[in-house]
């Protein structure tokens, strides 16, 4: 039987490329400054995934739809989050053990401020502080924390998917050729 249905090209490869771009722009020092402009590097990854998907399309392709940009950007965000988390875990293991220093100091400052003013310290703050102490100890001993990795992955996924799909949708708007 003749197959007369158009099979669109795979989205995985462009999404992986987009994810790699997100990771590069998020983890390389100085280059990561680009994300100071509203996660522009992450959006660039989503946009790049749309660009590479368009490169795969044959000339008589059906026009690209918004949902393609959304899916590509979100996929790129998922890949980007995985790669970014892996690299961060490696950085923590081999280079930096003081990952929590900043937030720990902030929490400590908040608690001491509240105590000095005679106000009640929210229970949640104390609990978070304890969790951070435990995680820091775990990282110090083993150089790795499963809980931290899962938390990072969850946060990176949320961040990269949101900004990745925005980048994908903007990519469709910018790169889509005018339909005949």
């Amino acid at each position: 039987m003749e197959d007369n249905y158009y099979q669109s090209p795979g989205k995985v490869k462009p999404a992986i490329i987009g994810g790699i771009i997100m990771t590069i722009t998020s983890t390389i020092p100085y280059l990561s400054l680009i994300n100071c402009a509203c996660c522009a590097g992450i959006m660039l990854g989503g946009l790049a995934s749309v660009y590479f998907y368009l490169q795969q399309l044959p000339p008589d392709e059906p026009p690209l739809e918004s949902k393609h940009g959304l899916i590509l950007g979100a996929f790129a965000g998922i890949f980007g989050a995985i790669f970014e988390t892996l690299i961060t875990v490696l950085i923590i293991k081999f280079l930096s053990k003081g990952y929590f220093d900043q937030i720990y100091i902030e929490i400590e400052k908040n608690i001491s401020d509240l105590e000095s003013q005679g106000q009640d310290v929210p229970q949640l703050l104390n609990e978070i502080q304890n969790v951070i102490v435990n995680l820091t100890q775990e990282i110090g001993e083993k150089g790795f924390s499963l809980v931290l990795t899962i938390l990072m992955l969850a946060f990176n996924t949320m961040k990269d998917v949101i900004f990745g799909l925005i980048g994908g949708l903007i990519g469709v708007a910018l790169l889509q050729k005018k339909s005949k």
Binding site: N4, Y5, Y6, Q7, S8, L33, N35, C36, A37, C38, C39, A40, D60, P62, E65, S66, K67, G69, L70, I71, I103, E106, I107, N110, I111, D113, L114, Q117, Q119, V121, P122, L124, L125, F155, K159, F163, I166, L169, I170, V172, A173, L174
Partner: protein, 157 residues
Amino acid sequence: MSKKIIYFSILLLSFIWCFSMILAPYLKATKSGYNIFIYFFFSRICHQLPERSFYIFGEKFAACERCTSIYFSFFVGTVFFPLIRKIKTEYLKICLYISIFFIVIDFLFGYIYFQNIYSIIISGSALGLCSSYFVVYGIINSFNKSNQNLEAKKIGR
């Protein structure tokens, strides 16, 4: 899913996003202690430099001036989406190109030469406003079944 539900969901999310940026300084000013979570959340996506942030209640916003301009104008763009969609897409696309060009130039100049608050606000607002149309339109079209074409399409028709 109906277009209205999708639209109002985006509007609500955008509102919560912007509101939380004002909530953080409010919580900090009232010494509630919970502000740290909002600041920490935004610290992952923004540099939050004090000299490049807006201030309210004597405390800085959860995101910098540029990000704040983008997010708030995105929210405004989402509010006025029903009106903006009446403008020709081609014009909006040109506006988006210009706003991206403008923000890139402003961003590069900011790190190389000087930073001007007005250029930050204008370029950020322009990008947020222009991109909001394409983001909202794209999400509505992606989730609304009446606008979807099946991915597998017949050739020769």
